[in-house]
Amino acid sequence: MTETDRQARLDTRELVDETASAAPVTSDLPPDDPVHAGDQTRSQWRDVWRQFRSHKGAMVALVLFAGVLLFVSIGPLLWTIDPTYVDIRARNSGFVAAHPLGTDQLGRDMLARLMAGGRVSIAVGLTAMIIAVTLGSFIGVMAGYFRRLDAPLMRMTELFLALPLLPLLLLMVTLFREPLSQNFGPAMGIFILIVSAIGATSWMQSARIVRGDVLGLKEREFILAARSIGTPPRRMILRHILPNVMSPIMVAATLGIATAIITESALSFLGLGFPPDFPTWGRLLYDAVDQMVLYPSRVILPGVFISLTVLCVNYIGDGLRDAMDPRIRGR
């Protein structure tokens, strides 16, 4: 049965259910579980997924992104060369069977380095996004729900928006890399530093979006109903508000991954990212720039991976936004 068929049948059944239930005399009681009234469910997320699938670019992007994720997660299990193993005799090799993507100036295998680098880059992107979106949604919900907090929190958001972010990021990373490296080890210290710096400087957009949505939600009847039965604010937010602002949060989160990956690689590119023996895509690009005349592939490969990942994530974000917008859903 095709999707359209299924949908059409579902629609008919819903229509039948509706008409039947509106009949004046029904001996049956209404079903105990109204959500599953028919034998097939029709949830919001199913609708979103259906709409998402009709966005061709987003579907291609989703497949590609899954491919990149597999490449960096499963890849190192299949291609077991250590990305930091120095084989000076095989340095600067071209595309040969032993090193499908060549080696760098110290003879380290590029394929393994790209996998390891991607792992770090995507981990940075995901973690920074989670921090930014959590912080942003928290501030947004607080500002939107509690009227007393609205003005101060929004003033703070505006202040943060007025900060010159890239210079400040550069400053934070240069100034605090030493103490953090000493406390958590060079790689972990920089990871914590970069992730928290990016998270702390990119929560503002999601906070604003969430606040706007919460302000709109607060006027709705179901909130009034929930309040009238005495729901405390904590449960109000967790049960009624948050699930309803999930869609803008998810879009912001997707786009946040893209920005975080770009920011991390920009920092690495300026030489302020991870230490040299700890590859990330941005770092690989930066290391290769000195020899780009002789070995352009070493610059292009990590750059292509960064761009591809960011492009995919942006497309997925676009598709999600379209799919979650009820005004155009079902068109």
């Binding site: 202040l159 007025a162 900060l163 920009a266 300026l270 780009m292 005349v293 292009i300 960011v310 492009l311």
Partner: protein, 335 residues
């Protein structure tokens, strides 16, 4: 409108003060030592005197207020003197860079033209490309032009400038040898040849930045045009027999440009920040490069001043965007 402008201007002052305090405290909390490069053979008491000479001996709030005074009072007076030949600022201490021991603003004044030429040019070029593309792809929504345009702008939006820059250097600078890959700042434009040399060296950095900006602006332009094309007044205009050209280019375009103009104004300061990376790629010694070298060298006054200048740009252009929005769209009333 005037009321709104004045109120916003007054509100900008505490914002800026707060930002400067944040930057100052961030620098203050840093473990770096501006005297870290001084040889170990220098005795400690001499080092202490050097520290005092740099103004580092006092408490942080005294130094902060001193810097505020220098930034907002001494420097404007100095430039006033320069222009009008007066001598208000005689004997006053300007902000001195730790690195070069020369006034910070003199160094900045040397660097601003490079940044302004490259960044300004790229922004103008980017907007000029973006607006026609946005108009066309909205007018012919879902046509092949629109599909290609949206895809290209998505790519331009997703490719970081350091990657596009490096790829352009490899293709056009190294393989084809069309353009020089390093920006030569010492070049003086005297005659036609040197002018052409200047143009040639500007092509790549300007293209890279322009593509990035164009990608963002054209997305906004397309969305804004689409919003307006479905409005009732467009149908009215068509119904009374106006030509398609007049409808689109006069009625729709003017209305769709309103949000785009504010986006352009809002984007300008971030472009300065983003140009930091492009400058690094093409070795343009502009403001961004100055900031990066200053950060490496622990040159606190320079870092503080340049970062604060970026902050001023952001606050200023946000204000300009808000005012422009109110001026261009009479439906928006702030009061």
């Amino acid at each position: 409108m005037l009321n709104f402008t004045i109120r916003r201007l007054l509100l900008a002052i505490p914002t800026l003060l707060f930002i400067s305090l944040v930057i100052f405290l961030l620098l203050e909390a840093s473990p770096g030592d501006p005297l870290g490069d001084v040889p170990l053979t220098v005795p400690p008491e001499v080092k202490e005197r050097m520290r005092e000479a740099l103004g580092l001996g006092q408490a942080w709030y005294i130094r902060y207020v001193l810097w505020l005074k220098q930034f907002f009072w001494v420097e404007p007076l100095f430039w006033f003197d320069q222009v009008f030949g007066t001598s208000f600022s005689d004997g006053m201490q300007r902000i001195i860079s730790f690195q070069s021991r020369s006034p910070v603003f003199d160094v900045i004044a040397q660097r601003v033209p490079q940044t302004l030429i490259v960044v300004g040019m790229s922004y103008v070029v980017g907007v000029m490309i973006a607006i026609p593309i946005g108009i066309l792809s909205a007018y012919k929504q879902y046509s092949w032009f629109d599909q290609v345009g949206t895809f290209v702008s998505m790519i331009g939006f997703s490719m970081p400038t350091f990657f596009t820059g490096v790829v352009m250097i490899i293709i056009f600078g190294v393989k084809l040898q069309w353009f020089p890959s390093v920006y030569d700042t010492t070049l003086e434009v005297r005659d036609w040849d040197s002018f052409m040399a200047q143009v040639r060296q500007m092509v790549m950095p300007v293209t890279v930045l322009a593509l990035y900006n164009a990608a963002q602006v054209s997305r906004f332009m397309r969305a804004s045009m689409l919003d307006n094309l479905g409005q009732d007044y467009v149908r009215t205009a068509r119904a009374k027999g106006l030509g398609e050209r007049t409808v689109v280019l006069k009625h729709v375009l003017r209305n769709s440009l309103i949000p785009v103009v504010t986006v352009i104004a809002l984007g300008l300061p971030t472009v300065f920040g983003g140009a930091l990376i492009t400058e690094q790629v093409f070795k343009v010694n502009g403001l961004g490069q100055l900031l990066i070298t200053a950060i490496y060298a622990n040159d606190l006054p320079m870092v503080l001043t340049v970062t604060f200048l970026f902050a001023i740009l952001i606050v200023m252009f946000t204000l300009i965007a808000d005012i422009l929005y109110g001026v261009l769209d009479p439906r928006i009333r702030y009061d």
